[in-house]
Symmetry: C2
Subunit: 112 residues, 2 copies
């Protein structure tokens, strides 16, 4: 289970799954939609998601070749739990940042 | 949001949050409950969760000192989304392992 959690909880995987929730996307569309991801990291994340059966890759033999990525049925079933985790993160990021600032400024963790 | 997802989706953080869902635990109890975690990784994971305000740490001045870890209210609010992700992983690990075996044995990813 740990390696499955490592994949589905991975921050970039979460972002890619959320970006594909609305339908298939091309590589450069994903790169534009996911702020801060590098070409290398997007390639690696898509490869991992494809290997896990969560994302499919369709190649159209044009010049240049066109590659579309989409969630598989398994990937679609991951949308809801991932969205809940993502929404929790969005709702609570302020509290977490406050906690971090207090911890770093202090704190209790130096007492023992 | 990415660093929040990195924390809450981290495989060991998920395991610790799930282990603390039933109530407070001492360090060695957590280590026993979470198969495969090293002392170093548990220390590091608890420190990260404490810094994020998700886990509290209560020290009792006995000899030796006793340290109990528990979910904070913020940590408790994370239980549900984390459990959903964990349950999804448990339910789908078989499909993911099959997909990985097919991918590694093949496959489509060598075609372009």
């Amino acid at each position: 289970m740990n390696d499955v959690l490592a994949r589905v909880g991975d921050k970039w995987s979460v972002r890619v799954v959320m970006a594909l929730a609305g339908g298939s996307r091309r590589f450069n569309e994903l790169r534009r939609d996911i702020a801060g991801i590098s070409q290398r990291m997007l390639t690696r994340t898509l490869r991992g998601l494809e290997r896990d059966g969560l994302v499919s890759r369709a190649v159209t033999a044009s010049v240049p070749p066109r590659v579309d990525y989409a969630l598989t049925p398994l990937g679609n079933s991951l949308r809801d739990p991932v969205a809940r985790l993502g929404n929790w993160a969005i709702a609570n990021i302020g509290k977490i940042e406050t906690a971090r600032a207090l911890f770093d400024a202090g704190s209790d963790h130096t007492k023992l």
